[in-house]
Symmetry: C2
Subunit: 348 residues, 2 copies
């Protein structure tokens, strides 16, 4: 059965709060039948979220009769379902729609929602639910596989988008590249992966290593990063993932003009140079690794500002730089393939 | 009701595998009535584990009639209950003893054990069970409280012991110091704390911050470290805790003569200097912090070797060094109080 997704982004006007919905609209457009947001009824997804073309915005589950799955399209800090969205979920379940959720608060554990689902036959898929329970072993790593990992100076800067764009572009150039999802949105798009930020902390490094073991038959893997080593809330997740996936190379991602930590505007993000050094130091504590390129997110910039930013950063760090959305990912794809050659990995 | 502990360390001859049991015998001696280890019946705890004096080693639950609680005294990698110990647990539950466990595999979720406990009235306390679900906020931190955090170059090097010894010695000198437990053994000894390695990874930094908020009314807190920033398995836990507890000063712990990573003898631990630098760099990414002293575990050394090691390390790093078990913690207590003065915290 094909997924026919009703993308719930109720009231979320910006593409960061609604990043799960935005990215499903961007990468799985054929599966999205409508956006559910009662504050923007009658508009298009493009008008409200900047992606999704003419996908209509509807105000209730009843207004999207072809949908068979309600997708929770926002990822609030802390992962809880906002009360305003609860009614939409209960409406969907009552109509027999399946629920696809990446929240930390598992909807299948919610007594009211679970009871309604039993009654209607809805399936509730909590993407973050996992039973990872294995530590890292550092054995049987296939060194011929090139491991690239996206990292950043904050969360929600575009690590998943860069990983996905580079992997898809490598595939177009006939390389066997695989996007390895580590967050709820990536898993929803790719259909596999591990919700690393919801793994019991003792097993984060092990879960990341298991992603490598499961995917290293590919020529190149692009492992989606999480959080940031300098993110006050999520740095533990970031380091466990960084060490567990044993990257050969990193693509460093950041958003131009962001100065304050996501959702913590009373805290300042350290300078790019010091953050990049921290990543290389921490990665090299486990395995030789360096930053091979920079993915800048210039969504807050004019075209001229974006060009100036890329020029400045390329000169400062001597690395290839692009905005994969604005420019396409070719600059980073070339960087990955050059690096593969330098390391002597893959087909020569 | 007082705890009368039967300490289960079945077959674990070394003080690392049996570290939970060893430390309960060391820090709660009046509560330990016997050790349960059918491979060492008739010996004393001191003979088998090197602590515990004349506490007898018995071969079955029936041989410790005064016990009211069976304490799981080992912490196997991965946290699963070894099959050989299962019979002892079921015997204890059948006799109505409570169970105190720090395993990742919750005994209260084990159908057979849970059913037996319902029948006998035993209470099963899984120390690692938690519902931490709050991110870090970095607000309302009381800067007058001095935050000291123990860190190390591997797990099982003595971070908990150093934290506890320094806190108790500060108390003896009439300072209001608090040992803040972050692991199962520390929680069993202290009676409170957070099992940080079993928290969902997104909430590790937040859980550590909550420990600070809950304890910062004290003059000095000694926050127990977990794992190591260079531990391939547990580095994510370590960084989340390091960033979450926002330390002013670190006490760096290591075991002399240990060259290979705990339970991963195919991996080498990096040199002390580079590990110490990594800790200072990572801590300072969040809050000004430095290493103020070194706790060396010299259990594998002769007295002469221990002296030489301390001299060498003190000279190399220009820091106070001691083995809190061999020498007592006074050198580190002085270092904490000197540092408190330098920062101008506490009573002048």
């Amino acid at each position: 059965v094909t997924r026919c997704l009703l993308v719930l982004t109720e009231g979320a006007g910006d593409p960061i709060t609604a990043k799960t919905g935005v990215n499903l609209l961007r990468y799985c457009p054929d599966e999205c039948v409508a956006v559910l947001d009662s504050t923007n009824v009658g508009k298009t997804a493009q008008q409200v979220l900047g992606v999704g073309g003419n996908t209509p915005v509807v105000g209730s589950v009843a207004d999207a009769p072809t949908a068979n799955t309600l997708l929770i399209g926002t990822a609030p800090s802390g992962g809880k379902l906002p009360p305003v969205m609860r009614k939409h979920v209960l409406d969907a379940v009552a109509k027999g729609l399946n629920i696809l959720s990446g929240l930390h608060d598992f909807l299948s554990d919610d007594a009211e929602i679970a009871a309604a689902a039993r009654k209607s036959g809805s399936k509730i898929h909590d993407v973050r639910k996992n039973d990872e329970h294995e530590v890292s072993h550092r054995k049987n790593i296939r060194e011929e596989c090139l491991r690239i990992h996206t990292v950043g100076n904050d969360c929600s800067v575009g690590k998943m988008v860069v990983s996905l764009e580079v992997a898809r572009a490598l595939n177009k150039r006939r390389h066997d590249a695989k996007f390895v999802a580590t967050g709820q949105t990536g898993i929803m798009i790719e259909g596999d992966g591990c919700p690393i930020d919801c793994v019991v902390s003792d097993f984060v490094n092990g879960a990341a290593e298991r992603l490598v073991l499961a995917n290293q038959h590919h020529e190149i893997i692009l492992v989606e990063g999480q959080g940031s080593l300098v993110q006050p809330r999520y740095s533990g997740v970031t380091l466990g993932l960084l060490h567990g996936c044993i990257p050969d190379g990193l693509i460093f991602c950041y958003e131009a003009k962001r100065e304050k930590v996501h959702n913590m505007n009373w805290m300042t993000i350290p300078p790019l140079r010091s953050v990049m050094k921290i990543y290389e130091d921490m990665a090299n504590a486990m395995h030789p690794c360096r930053i091979i390129g920079i993915g800048v997110n210039t969504r807050l910039c004019t075209a001229a500002e974006a060009e100036a930013e890329k020029k400045r950063v390329a000169r400062e760090f001597g690395l290839p730089v692009c905005d994969v959305i604005r420019d396409g990912p070719d600059v980073l794809v070339d960087a990955v393939l050059d690096f593969q050659k330098v390391l002597g990995k893959g087909k020569s």
